[in-house]
């Protein structure tokens, strides 16, 4: 446990020295929502969004953005790099199981999502009066489910990508469509019905829907929960089976 703590601390330490990644994954979501909130009409209640304001809806969307950048791009790239550079192999010759390093990177990534989310709510609460979710526990559950569903996909990328660069490229290819379906470019509510039905079965959109619903006090819907747990089961098992240590 002590060693695991040190490994997680090392992940933070090395990440703090990569300001580009940390800036993108940790700060870009909050910067984006601050910019959106600066548009006066986005601070007016919108009937299309069930009386919520655009800026309220985007709180969940930018958290999904943070999950996507960390889970689909950052984490798989780091893990594929660890394999490419022989760090996992080197670790296999010590008393520490290389799985611990995977775990440390996952823990670091999850903590980064949480920090980024706290930052989003703090800043938008102060600037635009975005309320905390009506049911905070449901919201937290939504974040956790979104993280496990998206991270499972990211782990599969890390498992099969031959290099860090390849992992980054695969992550990028998945990022845009999944983020579109999760409402980054226009909230899901204004997308055509058929697109929304498709979105329900993708991990980011399912996670975003749970967060959105928790904002108005709803508990997680069964479909989205099933979809996300399904991603964990299928992609997680595939990643475990296919993961190459060298």
């Amino acid at each position: 446990m002590k060693v695991f703590g040190k490994l997680v601390a090392t992940e933070f330490r090395t990440a703090l020295r990569e300001p580009v990644y940390l800036g993108f994954a940790g700060l870009f979501p909050v910067i984006l929502i601050v910019i959106l909130g600066a548009v006066p009409s986005f601070r007016e209640p919108s009937p299309d969004l069930g009386g919520l304001r655009v800026v309220d809806v985007y709180a969940g969307i930018v958290i999904a953005l943070s999950i996507a950048m960390i889970g689909l791009q950052g984490m798989p790239t780091v893990l594929a790099n660890y394999r490419e550079k022989g760090i996992l192999r080197r670790l296999a010759t010590t008393p520490v199981n290389p799985i611990a390093l995977l775990g440390a990177q996952l823990a670091f990534s999850a903590i980064l999502v949480v920090l980024s989310s706290v930052l989003v709510f703090t800043v938008t609460g102060i600037l635009y009066g975005v309320p905390l979710p009506e049911s905070p526990i449901a919201f937290l559950l939504a974040v956790v489910l979104a993280v496990i569903g998206v991270f499972a996909v990211g782990l599969l990328i890390a498992a099969v990508a031959p290099s860090g660069k390849a992992a980054n490229a695969i992550g990028l290819i998945l990022f845009f469509p999944l983020m579109f379906l999760a409402g980054l470019y226009a909230p899901r509510e204004v997308l055509p019905d058929v697109v929304q039905r498709i979105a329900d079965f993708t991990p980011l959109a399912a996670g975003e829907r749970l967060m959105h619903e928790a904002m108005t006090g709803q508990w997680p819907n069964l479909l989205s929960v099933t979809v996300l747990v399904g991603y964990l089961a299928i992609f997680g098992v595939a990643a475990a089976k296919l993961f190459r240590w060298e």
Binding site: K2, T10, R13, T14, G86, I87, T93, T94, V96
Partner: protein, 304 residues
């Protein structure tokens, strides 16, 4: 009981046989060298011993256990070829982190000092030179106070001074009772450090002996003397000597091949005839020669 015992180890990758029927035993406290040209199967052999690869056939025991046994990890230090660390991790952080992995770690400050990394403690791994990375890699292999250390291409990428310092360090490690398995293709390193050497070529052990034993075992002519005589000298004066087996002439130079106390015998004859040997050179068979005879090429040949 041997510290490492390899019996009939074989490993193939697809159609390529990397190691074929390799056997040897490493005794407690010795420095055992695996010497061979690039691509001979040295690395595959140590990867099997380190538990990173499964042999196709044959058995390996390390300290009486299977190489895959995880309890060995605290007792066996391994330095791998081409393994890196996180770019943005400093030398100090790497040493501290890796010492936390072991129950009874060595003092990392001392190790860093011995390996000349004192000045680099706050440098990122990514900013180190090749030789510095290599030295850090050796430090990490020794940081757990291992009973056995496996070092693959110990001094590759080091400059001559650093190479000598590292040899010094390794001798010191052996003096503390650590058993060392060394993979190398540097003849001088093998000759200087190893108590015994297994020469591996094309996946097979072609010889196993002490460095001196290997030279003796393979050498046909022990010594060669080359010189330019200050005055003409007849062949017969030298060929009658029991130590001399033959004489070759190259222009005004003479090459005398023979055994035993050849140098003394030849210079005595020259002196009694009032002849001075100019540009005298004595050549004895070296491990290099032994290696070439065993494998048909030099160790540095064949690019990686």
């Amino acid at each position: 009981m041997p510290v490492i015992e390899v019996k009939n180890l074989s490993k193939r990758y697809g159609d390529t046989v990397a190691v074929r029927d390799v056997s040897f035993a490493v005794e407690p406290g010795e420095i055992f060298g695996i010497l061979g040209p690039n691509g001979a199967g040295k690395t595959t052999t140590v990867e099997c011993i380190s538990g990173l690869r499964n042999p196709d056939s044959g058995t390996i025991t390390v300290l009486g256990r299977e190489p895959r046994d995880r309890t060995l990890r605290a007792e066996v230090g391994v330095q791998l070829q081409e393994s890196e660390l996180q770019e943005k991790l400093t030398v100090r952080e790497a040493l501290e982190l890796y010492s936390a992995f072991y129950p009874k770690p060595a003092d990392w400050r001392e190790l860093a000092g011995d390996l000349g990394l004192d000045e680099k403690l706050n440098t990122y791994f990514g900013k180190l030179s090749g030789g510095q990375k290599q030295r850090l890699s050796i430090a990490l292999a020794l940081i757990g106070n291992p009973k056995v250390a496996i070092l693959d291409e110990l001094t590759t990428g080091l400059d001559p001074q650093a190479r000598r310092d590292t040899w010094e360090l390794i001798s010191g490690v052996r003096d503390r009772g650590v058993t060392l398995l060394l993979v190398t293709h540097f003849m001088e390193e093998a000759e200087r450090l190893c108590d015994r050497i297994a020469v591996i070529d094309r996946g097979e052990v072609v010889a196993l002996n002490t460095p001196a034993g290997l030279v003796e075992q393979t050498s046909t002519a022990d010594q060669t003397i080359r010189f330019r005589p200050s005055a003409p000298i007849a062949d017969e004066l030298l060929t009658v000597l029991p130590e001399v087996s033959r004489i070759n002439r190259h222009g005004d130079r003479i090459e005398v091949v023979g055994t035993g106390n050849l140098l003394h015998a030849v210079t005595s004859v020259l002196a009694s005839n009032g002849i001075v040997a100019v540009e005298l050179r004595l050549e004895q068979a070296t491990l290099d020669d032994a290696f070439v005879r065993l494998t048909g090429r030099t160790a540095e040949e064949s690019p990686r």
